[in-house]
């Protein structure tokens, strides 16, 4: 643990733009951290099969700092983009990896993962004898999240839900909100390669078609595992907010079956499987989907 950490100085004009922090101990994962002091909201993004922390969510990353219409709404939220081996790792293992990641953030933030050694850029080499370290954290040391949203696309939805039902005593986790995009909770449809490729902007579905034999894909074809996840989630649904998801499906999705759990809410958009989680100025729905937070009073009443 670093001995001493400091918060950073930011010019007024820079305050609303997020600071990109690479989570080096969680390879490929990174954060966009708010430079405001009073931040209590966080969103954790979990990509799907064949995706990654950057590619799946790039439009989110660009729009929240660039589009004036939404900039203010995201300026005081921290965003985390979790990466895992979606292709080659079993879902159970990925969910375990996600749980470890979550423990860095809730119930308390583990500052060790955010402290940057600025020594190499502030202490001239000729003046330093040996290693000189000066650790700085890009946010106040007492930052604590009160409202955490878990956003998952496709397999990411299965990974998130598996993590939740495996840790039903974790209050901090149970208090999270789930905002899912086309989650593969009812398995993949046996879509043909052509069907998969037809509407694809990138190579994600192309890879998916190549990798039909990968273990994670097999998990998602294994209806028994997914049925058990459904049963476990529905049985425990009253234990916390995180058991019930808000789901956005695509009308043109030929990859997953749009079957929600009894405790979920759902909505449909005129999108395919990959477009569903890619916001734009013409399609802001994904931004709304991850940022809305349930009315506390209504929840209590329910």
């Amino acid at each position: 643990m670093p001995k001493e950490t400091n918060f950073v100085e930011v010019e007024a004009g820079e305050r609303d733009r997020h600071y990109y922090h690479r989570m080096v101990e969680c390879e490929g994962s990174f954060a966009m951290l708010s430079l405001h002091e009073d931040v209590t909201d966080a969103i954790i993004f979990v990509h799907g099969f064949g995706g990654d922390s950057y590619g799946t969510w790039a439009q989110f990353q660009l729009l929240i700092d660039q589009w004036e219409a939404v900039k203010a709404e995201f300026a005081k939220r921290d965003l985390y983009f979790f990466q895992y081996h979606s292709v080659w790792e079993r879902v159970e293992s990925s969910s375990n990896r996600l749980l470890k990641f979550m423990r860095l953030l809730i119930p308390e933030i583990n500052l060790e993962h955010f402290a940057m050694d600025v020594g190499p850029v502030t202490v001239p080499k000729e003046e330093s004898s040996g290693e000189v370290s000066e650790f700085v954290v890009p946010f106040p040391k007492d930052r604590k999240y009160e409202r955490v949203t878990l956003a998952g696309h496709s397999e990411g939805g299965v990974v998130i839900r598996t993590m939740i039902v495996r840790d039903l005593e974790n209050t901090a986790l149970l208090n999270c909100r789930l905002a899912l995009f086309a989650p593969a909770i009812a398995g993949y449809k046996p879509a043909g390669l052509l069907g998969s490729m037809a509407n694809f902007p990138g190579l994600g579905l192309l890879l998916e078609a190549v990798l039909v034999a990968a273990p994670a894909y097999q998990d998602l074809k294994d209806k028994e595992d997914l049925k058990q996840l459904k049963t476990d989630t529905e049985t425990a649904h009253s234990k916390g907010r995180a058991l019930c998801a808000d789901i956005l499906w695509g009308h043109k999705d030929y990859v997953v079956k749009p079957q929600k759990y009894a405790c979920d809410t759902q909505d449909f958009e005129d999108c395919n499987h990959t477009q569903i989680c890619k916001p734009s100025e013409d399609y802001p729905k994904p931004l709304d989907h991850v940022k809305k937070w349930p009315d506390e009073k209504k929840e209590e009443h329910k």
Binding site: N6, F7, V8, E9, V10, E14, R17, H18, Y19, Y20, H21, R22, G28, F30, L35, D52, Y54, G55, A58, Q59, Q61, L62, D65, Q66, H85, V87, W88, E89, M116, D117, V118, P120, V121, T122, V123, P124, K125, E126, E134, V136, P138, G192, L193, L194, G195, M197, A198, F200, P201, G202, L203, G204, L206, L207, A209, V210, L211, V212, A213, A214
Partner: protein, 291 residues
Amino acid sequence: MSHVETLRLAELWRSRLQPLAQGELRGTTPMTAGASVYEATGWLIEGVFCGYFRPEDADVLWVRTRAMVEAAEVPEYPRFMPVVAQGVQKLLREKDPFAAKDQMTEEAQREFELPLFPHALMLADQLFGDSLARMCTSVLASYDKTAWAKLMEELGKVDGALVAKRIGSPAEAPMDMAAVVAGFLRLLEHMNQSREFFDFARTRVPYGVDFESYLQRIGGLTAWHVPLLDAQARARFEQLTQSTWAILFVESVEEYIGADWAAAEARFEQHVSAMRSSWETYHLSAATAIA
């Protein structure tokens, strides 16, 4: 109290320059290693130029990194953009390289570039950190003809499952044809992400901003990862396109026997062609200017 600009530069040191200084890269030839060092230095120059980093911090960091840059093989055209290499060479010649006077003065240009900079750098970091993509770049850019022929001989033994294995375990992937094909798929994905980024940037260009200059400087930094101006690399890119399709086809044809494979092949080729075209537009425009 530290400035956020200082923290950003410390991230550049940790994510880019330090791994290069420690020689932590796999799948790298002297040419691509040199290009990696020059690219990282280019990000340092551009970051100071648009105000993302502070010149005084950059001067401190430069003392730590200068020797590594001096020792790196100078990457050359057509595999590397001369505008980037010249900027680094100029830095090596100057005594006080990051003087504040060299920062961008045009307000509109700065307002356009500064908010995009962290995203462009993250995009480049993802490409830099992708060991399979780097293997493919090495093969495209600097493998001799004998080594390339040997790799192509392996092609008959490569199936979709082996390519999947390489994608699933990039850290353990040996330098073989399956890894090169996996790297090619990864490169295509990076090209797609890059296209989306520059498409987005283009929609935000206000009056008075020189987007062409932006493409030459920022797009030019990562151009070497897919060196399509080099005739040999371009020919290999074409061969990998065909080989990758063949692997996909053989892997999937039995399971999806009813598919319209001719149409599927056309779609795949269109996709690759679109990636190639956008790469030329957004990353290789400096070369067009030279021509």
